[in-house]
Subunit: 327 residues, 4 copies
């Protein structure tokens, strides 16, 4: 099979041995593989890296004895794997399993994966649309699900990379009023297409002031940071209304300052974070894709495997939503 | 009537005019007035202060036309007041009302209070026990209610002043396993009496290590900081298990550092804060007092009004739980 | 003032003394008074009846000392009244208060009402639109709120009188897929306008079969009966999916049969009922009106007081949505 | 291996071929097998029946390639099996899977079971105690978990067979006040030992009256029927307070009458049912067993396989709690 390798600001295809199914594991032929911003590290690092791809959809190519899947099943390929028997794994939170492992990169024609991770796509969800149930929609969905987002809410989304665009999409689908803050015009326009009611360029004024104007001074009931930048995270906290909730989705390995008394005790804020999505949420995300096929607007570019370098160039330009590889 | 005044490290009684009921307002004759650590500021400040007392129970002494209360009703006197018509007030969160006001200090023989704030005590809850439904139990109850604390939880409480002792009491009542961290021996012993399963003196070793030992390395599902100290707040965050929840109850007007990626995204933590209690929780707190009259152990000292200086001396010594004035 | 009286299949205006404000009570000048199907009983009964009107909006005309409202406040007038101090009243469920009382009919130019029942309308919600926050929208909102209805749900609504049309409206607003069953074509068409995705005339075939076809055999996650008819209630139970929820909104004083094992234990169904709406939901309903002004389509007819007989004739014809009296 | 067969009011041991592990399936050597009232049907029916046993704990004896379990793992053996890939199975509700299957009876020395059904027992929970996490505790736990039972609740349990005794145990563990109704004295006494605050013999008076006396006229916030008898189910509905919740756990294949208006709309009742337990609840049940080892009182008799007839005689006498077979 062909698979991707990357490093030194380049990406290329190489041949590798086909993986084989074995009990508990199936082999999936990939059909749509979205690129994820988290691959930047491997791309820009020295050396040759063969990990990183962790989203996608495909068709079960091979199963082993005892399988509950069938050859030909259309499936979502979620990232990583876990021990399958601990409380976290059994509850669908295998990403947090102390024995979780990255597994093979999904950026290949064939991916070998534990069956427990493979979820059967509904017939009426295409491979391309279905692949949005990875890093595009899952952090936003998980955030808004855990915060109980519904039609009564006003949601602020900061940072409109693919994760932020996904949060806008999910907020709109759940009936909430969505406000979004992002400096890149292309992304703000895409957010509007995906359901944001108003957007703001933070390089042109005071974003906190803007949120207050949009909400009659009250602030938003929910906020999701997808930028991973301290000032946007702080904006979320400050723009949240009394008793509001804030969720961090954008990776920020640094520290930010919060005030126990002002932010939490007096204001009654709730602050949380989500990484990937609990497997229990997958059916709800699939239902969203069935009811809102226009979510495909999140996908702005598609490339065959042969044009993989072009795909990464476009994706890392910032002038893109989700970019798909079609092996 | 007699009322308290304080300042310059002294407290004394003085005469004041009796308040009178008017439409919407009742006058309550106080029966049990707990002291609160938040009065320290007034006590130690210069000048004469006549605010600060904000807990207690009493008997309705006078009502005006249109009242839904009756003279003789036994009531809980909660702090402050709000506009009564905004969304926050109507939802019981009047403490967060943008038009909230402190109102008259409760440290007096008679208190004039909006009827909307006065909750009728069950017949079988004494004035003394009922007065624990103020700052003693309400922050802990609100914290554990908002975090959904139940019998499956292990709860860490840091800081065993009256608020922390209240959190221990509530956690035990809700069936959780309670661990507590506090340097003062008197308070640790009282926490044990009130239902803590294990306590730790943080001056004798590594509190985080101790929590891990107590929880098989896993950490606690819930943590409540009642100390308002940064290192204890950080302990709560670090000692929480994956997908755990942490609530701040102890005032800390400073800043603490948190990591969006490590604390929230990767660990899945939820962080919140509570000040006072939503009025909707009052019936649940009353039910707790009915079912657990031994909560009276929280009250370690009682003084008549005439011994008010002695009451404050004992209370501020740290060798006390809740101290009551009995006017 | 003028007020309505009815009986013997007629309705007429008569003069009555103006009510006066007193402490705790305000007088409201009515602006929009919706008719409600529950008035049928008074209309068709013998004698002269002066009760029944229990919805509407208006302007505060007079207040008494101690009031937290102001003359000129625009308000929603909800039905009944309660004791204001019991746990149910304090929690917003005053309708269930053991001491609840009907109070004066709202079908008059002036209504005297306890202030605790009057909720201030947002400035951008008209009197007419605001009046939909009574029996039109409140049973449906309460049902879907208590069942946690969101975008992942498919909701069946049976019976498309004003209550059922309201449930369709709320379900659509909350992002759910809405299916509706009703024999009258006018009402089915109105439901489609208000957001139903598909409707069915149960006189033309098997409604259960139709729901199964619409849901891939799985059934609906939520169902709301607004007809009060046993066969529709049974349809809701049978059409609900495994672990689904069913809510009764349509009054049916008779009995229906349910099977503990088949309906509840094996299928995992949850069955509930809602009457009016908890006051705590009012802000959410107001937010719905602000975000969806097209809900005004629920109002199909408007009449001045002088044409009150015509108003009731049209309303009871079944060829109407909500009918308003404009005093 | 030896296994049980029953029929014609007799039970006996017979030899059968040892089952063998295969991919996805493990073989468990049973250690504690509780008897369940649902086996009565097989016991009293004609012919020879080899199904029915569906609870228990044991040790993994054999695994196949690809297993995530290890030989020697101590496990809970839950009933049935499902397809493992549908939404219900992936969410832990495999019991409701449309493709669920009974599988081999657990009443044997060796049981072959899908790995997905086997949950690893905590080290400090014995096989005997762990076996209570089947039909003894799971219906009650599931009922009270779904109804959100906590320390603020008063719970009525009707019918004190093993399921009802389990519900008493769980209610007490969760901090609720538990009332129980049952005619057999032995069972009432056992309920008292397991945490019921008060019990009532319904043959000696009016049980509804008794509940009202116990609750100040208000009724219970939660009720669980474990008798499967129409009059007890109706008692639960009538004894529930306004806005209360009722759960059916006792199989009753017949019909009962409920009133949409009186029981649901005006009273605001919620009615549900639970069969077995969602797999996601298993860790919470294990935690309960760790914290309350005295739950072992639920087990009143233990028999080796050789005394199987005596075991069933005792169990069906009604003078027993849970009866264990120890193979």
């Amino acid at each position: 099979m062909k698979r991707l390798a990357m490093g030194g600001k380049k990406v290329w295809l190489e041949e590798a041995e086909d993986p084989r199914a074995e009990p508990g594991w199936a082999v999936v032929r990939t059909k749509a593989i979205p690129l994820c911003g988290s691959e930047k590290h491997a791309y820009y690092s020295e050396g040759e890296n063969r990990w990183g791809g962790h989203e996608g959809t495909g068709v079960v190519e091979e199963i082993a004895e005892g399988s509950r899947l069938k050859v030909g099943d259309r499936v979502l390929i979620s990232p990583q794997g876990g021990c399958e028997v601990c409380e976290l794994c059994r509850g669908g939170n295998y990403i947090h399993c102390p024995d979780s492992y990255p597994g093979q990169s999904h950026s290949a024609e064939l991916v070998k994966k534990r069956e427990a991770i493979l979820c059967i796509l509904p017939d009426d969800v295409s491979f391309e649309l279905g692949s949005m149930a990875g890093c595009a929609l899952s952090p936003g969905f998980s955030s808004l699900e855990r915060m109980g987002c519904g039609a009564s809410d006003t949601v602020l989304v900061t940072g409109l990379g693919p994760v932020g665009l996904g949060a806008v999409t999910v907020g709109s689908y759940r009936g909430a009023r969505v406000l979004a803050v992002e400096p890149v015009e292309f992304r703000r326009d895409l957010a509007t297409d995906l359901g944001a009611e108003a957007t703001f360029d933070p390089t042109t004024g005071d974003a906190l002031e803007w949120v207050r104007e949009q909400t009659g001074g009250r602030g938003v009931s929910l906020a999701v940071d997808c930028s991973g930048r301290a000032e946007a995270e702080r904006l979320c906290i400050d723009a949240a209304a009394v008793l509001g909730k804030v969720c961090f989705c954008g990776e920020n390995g640094g520290q930010i300052e919060v005030s126990p008394s002002s932010d939490f005790i007096r204001k009654g804020l709730t602050l949380l974070g989500t990484w990937h999505m609990n497997l229990l949420d997958v059916p709800k995300v699939f239902r969203m894709l069935q009811r809102r096929p226009e979510i495909e607007k999140l996908i702005t570019h598609r490339f065959p495997f042969a044009q993989v370098q072009e795909a990464y160039d476009v994706f890392f330009s910032g002038q893109a939503g989700k970019v798909l590889l079609l092996p």
